[in-house]
Amino acid sequence: MVLLVHGILRAEDADLPGVGLPDALRPRAVTAGPVGALVSPAPDRELTAQDAEPHLDLLIAVVAAGLPVLPVAFGTVAPDDDAVREEVLDPEAGLLEQRLAAVADLIELRLDVVFDTDASVAAVRDADPDLRRMAERLGGPGVGLSERLALGEATATRVAEHQSALVEEWTAELEELAERSAVLHGDEQLRRIAYLVRRDRLDDADAAVSRLQAALGNRARIEYIGPLPVYSFLDDLDVGPSPEPASQWGW
């Protein structure tokens, strides 16, 4: 039976203790040595976008149960249990085990800062006499599209600087309590930042976001997601021989 491979977990967690399973999947673990793969029967058709939701829900449920898990790229399939063992688990068992140990106490949180463009434009206009002069010159005769675009571009540049400064200010507390962070997306509307956070600091992160929410006013709104598997930090995990969490993430 063809299998979807969702994630890698410790063999000792193969029974998925405490995991609230999504209805759409019938997951189980295929183990080999110290590690296991979280698999489910593949549908008898090509995968669609809708299949991404139970895949992610399952991984999130594992994280929520307090178990370490390494997410496997959505769309990964294997022909049978033996292929999972031979192709996925056995070749990298040691590395997978180390990585699982490295993520054991960590989760990923994501923060979307969605700016109100009008508020940003108003702020830079009020703060920048040059910008106002450029706007005034547009009132003269023979002024065309290129001047207009120049104003738009100057505004866009200043808005980007303004928003960067705000994000830095607003997220200082989260940056402080997170082990690491990564900017996943940034444009004049949306900044998406991922934070690698210790499980025992989740409450602190929630409190920091609450304070942030109160400070935003009409300048922006936020969306706050998690805990997720540590998707954004898989490449940089410290898989050293002595995974002491307190010192491992010290930078």
């Binding site: 090509e46 992610l56 829900d57 790229a73 399939v77 706007a135 290129s146």
Partner: protein, 144 residues
């Protein structure tokens, strides 16, 4: 919106954002077990990004227009921009937003796994990206 409670959601609510989380993210098994997704998902995402980018541009153009202090300009400004955009001439203005979105979707999808059509579509924003480093002098020499 409540001002005192952090409303943390377990995962993104929209399917597009769920795909943004899981597509080509996570451990990639370098073996025959890996299959790529069918094209329809890629098209779905592409359409979402283009629509979102155009929307961003329109809202931004409107906001810039309000900087005009002369009332008459408020009449001429936005329609002029929009006419130009319909003709395709304003692509230079929209490229920032489009490029940003495309760049991000390229990262999401991982370039090189798609079919020929995908590759062709994704090359274009990469070229625009190179343009972007010196747009000010090219578009508006008078700006200084």
């Amino acid at each position: 919106m409540t001002m005192t409670t952090a409303s943390r959601a377990p995962r993104p609510s929209s399917l597009a954002d769920v795909l943004d989380v899981v597509l080509d993210k996570g451990i990639v098994i370098d073996a025959y077990v890996r299959v790529s997704l069918v094209g329809i998902e890629l098209l779905t995402i592409d359409a979402r990004i283009v629509i979102a980018s155009v929307d961003t541009y329109l809202r931004f153009a409107e906001a810039v227009n309000r900087l005009d202090l002369q009332p008459s300009e408020q009449v001429a400004g936005l329609p002029g921009l929009m006419d130009n955009m319909r003709e395709g001439g304003a692509r230079t203005k929209t490229k920032g937003a489009l490029t940003g979105a495309k760049e991000s979707i390229k990262e999401t999808l991982g370039i090189g796994g798609g079919d020929d059509d995908e590759d062709e579509r994704e090359e274009q924003p990469a070229e625009r990206r190179r343009d972007r480093s010196a747009p000010a002098s090219r578009r508006a020499p008078a700006r200084g």
